[in-house]
Symmetry: C2
Subunit: 185 residues, 2 copies
DNA sequence: GTCTATAACAGGATAGAC
DNA sequence: GTCTATCCTGTTATAGAC
């Protein structure tokens, strides 16, 4: 067999960039091939089920990144919750490149994407909620308040990403991260 | 000339429904023709510049609806600001059908849509901010606080719409509207 | 103003050579 | 495992009859 032209751990980030900026329908195989340096037929060798499988893999890849770099930090009991939150917010800032990059949930949230990935999106969002709720209870909040804070934190992240894009002002996102930190202060 | 099969004021809502749920790329002329009851060629008669012009018209149509039904209420000096807010929030609930419908800004916020409508989206979002800021100052808030509240209100609306869709729970959106009301309480 | 028909192209997907 | 070549379908858009 020929050597892989691009390893999986380089392939997925490249595909991710396209899906995040273009959405599911907007991401064409032509562009997905270009950014990976592979021909379309080679992409089908890696992902026999085509575009849908590529998008699924991207969703899973993002989920793993977030689990490793955000959830695991938020719930790491060795550190005080204030420290965990601070570190996690830095990682969230990285995830969205300071507001420049969009969320994959949003990118897959138009009809076509929802038809395929509704369950994965729901699960992913619930994972975010649980991680933040875990942090809240570690800070001594009641279950109810911890849940409310978690939900509001996600609303803030998603909403501020939309407004940052629409108003072309990444400070909206950055300030929102600070606001989240203060809410738990 | 033959009679119009569908008047502009019926045509635009139909187009709007498709663009809102599918996004710019996901909205096909085939479906746009179906929902309007017109053939594709007839759509081109109404919108010579094709899909882009249809989307522009939808954006403008939504802007007018919002101006009439939300901004004008929020800034109507005859009524006390608390009343204005209450009425406006009811209209916002209608605009998004209790969380079931998405925002046109979001639908046009993937790359292809931004390339075409960035300026329109930015202007539309600033109109929302100004209307809410106007309300805040009418309630006696400082300029700075009124601006902060306006921004947070939009973040709440956009974020809660995303989470409502992703988690398939429209109560997230509905509760957020109540929360906005309380913030100005 | 709407229609049928069709052009021109892009998109997703596959076959088979190397 | 990657490639070239190709297929087929869907998509945007236009021509011209009514």
């Amino acid at each position: 067999m020929r050597p892989q032209k691009i390893a999986d751990d380089q392939l997925l980030p490249a595909l991710t960039r396209v899906f995040r900026t273009k959405g599911y329908e907007g991401a064409s195989l032509k562009e997905l091939a270009e950014v990976t340096g592979l021909k379309k037929a080679s992409l089908y060798h890696r992902f026999p089920d085509g575009k849908q499988e590529m998008a699924e893999s991207v969703l899973e890849y993002m989920g793993q990144w977030v689990t490793t770099n955000i959830f695991n930090i938020l719930t790491k009991e060795e550190f005080p919750p204030e420290t965990r939150l601070k570190h996690a917010l830095v990682q969230i800032g990285k995830l969205y490149d300071g507001g420049k990059d969009g969320c994959i949930f949003r990118a897959f949230s138009m009809q076509a994407g929802l038809d395929l990935f509704q369950e994965g999106i729901k699960k992913g969002m619930n994972d975010w909620l649980n991680a933040f709720k875990n942090l809240g209870t570690a800070m001594g909040l009641s279950d109810k308040i911890a849940e409310e804070n978690a939900l509001q934190s996600l609303i803030d992240i998603q909403g501020s990403l939309i407004l940052s894009k629409g108003l072309q002002d990444n400070n909206i996102f950055k300030n929102t991260l600070k606001k989240i930190e203060n809410r738990y202060g």
